[in-house]
């Protein structure tokens, strides 16, 4: 890795950790709330998805409005910026999945693989969708704002499921146990399509990125 | 050294004149170092290239000389040279234009000399 990439990645990860920390704190707050109000824990795994998924989606907008602008104005090539953004998101997804894997295989080994697949596809989808929304917001298109709202609602709703799960084995676990491999495959194809579309769209747009 | 720069003349000429003035008034003595271009640039907030142009003007006139690695110094005899130069300039700038103006006002030579003598008495 070149000196410049290292420097940029270091700064970028520092910013990213700050963002993740905010959502981890929110997730912990929700846990405390659940504990006091309902005398039980929210579903840890889904909260982990929330703590990773939310910043991952938020970065779509933040990268395009803030980080890329900052990096371009300090004289870093767009190619390098793009690469570093991908590295960061990849690292965060891998870290998230690793933590989830540890939790899921301890608690629900029977749905472990399915969960990993669905969760992985979910994060890829969030990444791609976030980038599309981010680019559109940067281009000051109305659609961007709409996409942002849809995105946050989707992640919020998925995470909300965990609050109403009985004793950690609630609706989601049942749902995952019932889901067929075919359905997962369909979800996967959809997620990968959105992800690939988002990446290609972002890569094309970053070449024309302008600091206003 | 500090005098204020104005817009009437080129900055580098003003810089050269200020150094000349300092030599005339013994603020800088012969064989003494004069401020460097960078010092002048910072003092007057001007581009060092302009300050250098002013210094070079004095080098060309034989008023300053360069000591390698040390800086610019005042030539011995510089003061006399400046005086001579200023005298020539005085003649051009004041005497000639004085006569011209006198002529256009119809002041004759005798009257003009009378005026000069009167002014001197005061």
């Amino acid at each position: 890795m070149s000196e410049e990439t290292k420097r940029l990645l270091k700064y970028d990860l520092l910013c990213a950790l700050k963002d993740i920390l905010i959502f981890v704190l929110i997730a912990l707050g929700v846990q405390l709330w659940c504990h006091y109000m309902y005398k039980r824990m929210a579903n840890m795994v889904f909260l982990a998805d929330f703590a990773i998924g939310m910043p991952l989606f938020a970065w779509g907008g933040k990268d395009w409005l803030v980080q890329i602008r900052l990096y371009v104005s300090t004289g870093i090539t767009r190619k390098r910026i793009f690469r570093v953004l991908i590295m960061r998101k990849l690292l965060v997804i891998l870290a998230g999945i690793f933590i989830e894997a540890a939790m899921i295989f301890i608690n629900y080994p029977e749905i472990g693989i399915k969960f990993m697949a669905v969760s992985g596809f979910f994060l890829l989808f969030v990444w791609g969708f976030g980038d599309i929304a981010g680019v559109l917001v940067y281009q000051r298109k109305k659609l961007g704002q709409i996409f942002l709202i849809i995105g946050y609602m989707m992640i919020g709703m998925l995470s909300a499921g965990s609050f109403f799960s009985e004793n950690q084995v609630g609706f989601w676990v049942v749902f995952l146990a019932e889901i067929t491999p075919e359905t997962i495959a369909v979800i996967g194809v959809l997620a990968v399509a959105v992800f690939a579309g988002g990446i290609c769209f972002a890569k094309k747009q970053i070449r024309n990125y302008m600091v206003y | 050294m500090k005098e204020v720069l104005n817009q009437e003349k080129s900055i580098y000429i003003q810089i050269a004149e200020m150094i000349e003035n300092d030599i005339l008034r013994d603020v800088i003595l012969e064989e003494e170092r004069v401020p460097s271009t960078n010092e002048l640039a910072k003092l007057y907030v001007i581009n060092p290239a302009t300050a250098a142009k002013g210094i070079n003007l004095l080098v060309d006139k034989g008023i300053l000389y360069k000591k390698r690695g040390v800086g610019m110094f005042v030539e011995s005899g510089a003061k006399e040279k400046i005086k001579a130069g200023r005298k020539a300039e005085f003649y051009e700038r004041f005497v000639i234009s004085l006569l011209k103006e006198a002529k256009s006002l119809g002041i004759g030579k005798a009257e003009l000399i009378g005026m000069i003598e009167k002014a001197e008495e005061k």
């Binding site: 602008r69 300090t74 004289g75 190619k79 | 007057y44 581009n47 060092p48 290239a49």
Partner: protein
Amino acid sequence: MSLELKNITKCYGKKTVLNGLDLTLEEGKIYGLVGRNGAGKTTMLSIASAQNPTTKGEIMLDGETVWENQKCLNQICFSREIVNSADNVSSALKVKEYLRMAQMLFPYWDKEMADRLVEEFELDEKQKIMKLSKGMQSMITIIVALASKAKYTFLDEPAAGLDVVARENFYRLLLDEYSESGRTFVISTHIIEEAADVFEEVIFLNKGTIMLKENTEELLSRCIHISGKAEDVDDIIKGKRAFHQEKMGRSKGITLMLDGGEIFDKKGRDVEVSPLSLQDVFVALCGREEKL
């Protein structure tokens, strides 16, 4: 050693901001960039630093393309004017965070210098940038520009919002850094008069092209103002480049631009000849256009 802008055209939508602009910035000079509002100064600096793509044309640093070339980009720093707006990044950061970012991302960052300047400008590092006054925001862009140590450094309106003491202080700091390092600076400003002596060369940008790029002293030495009886003035300016005439009764005033090395000839006419300031020259050239 030079930074070249070759035949640069830049359009925002249907609007052409730069139109086939050519410019060569030589190493080791302080350039003043002057132009009216909307002349394209910021756009030109954005493009010269590859922060924005061109519509047409190319930027070359010592013969190498700058676009997407990290080696070249490391030599260039364009410290943008900070604008307070909702989608502006830098203004949401604290001074300290912003400078830490600069320290981590600029390859030749001089931390000691940045710290010294923060102290000298009496900036509160814990403040958010958007909460600072315009003048203090200018100070931050100045700190970033100077401490970046980039060989080619561009500053957009660094004097904006600074009081007169701070402005003089800035020009002194600039000259200090310049005489020590020999870096190239391009500084855009609307406050022409007090900066004129700092610029070795001035660049007049007008309607998206370079109208003039010349040594400041030389430009001033060949621009004069003539006034007198209209027919005397008309006779003198015959066949010369004259701008910006003003008429009052029988008298006429005009700005004359001599060719390099040309000695002004009054042709025996009784006219008043006076020197011009850089601001006068700029107004004459870029103000109302009345070429005769």
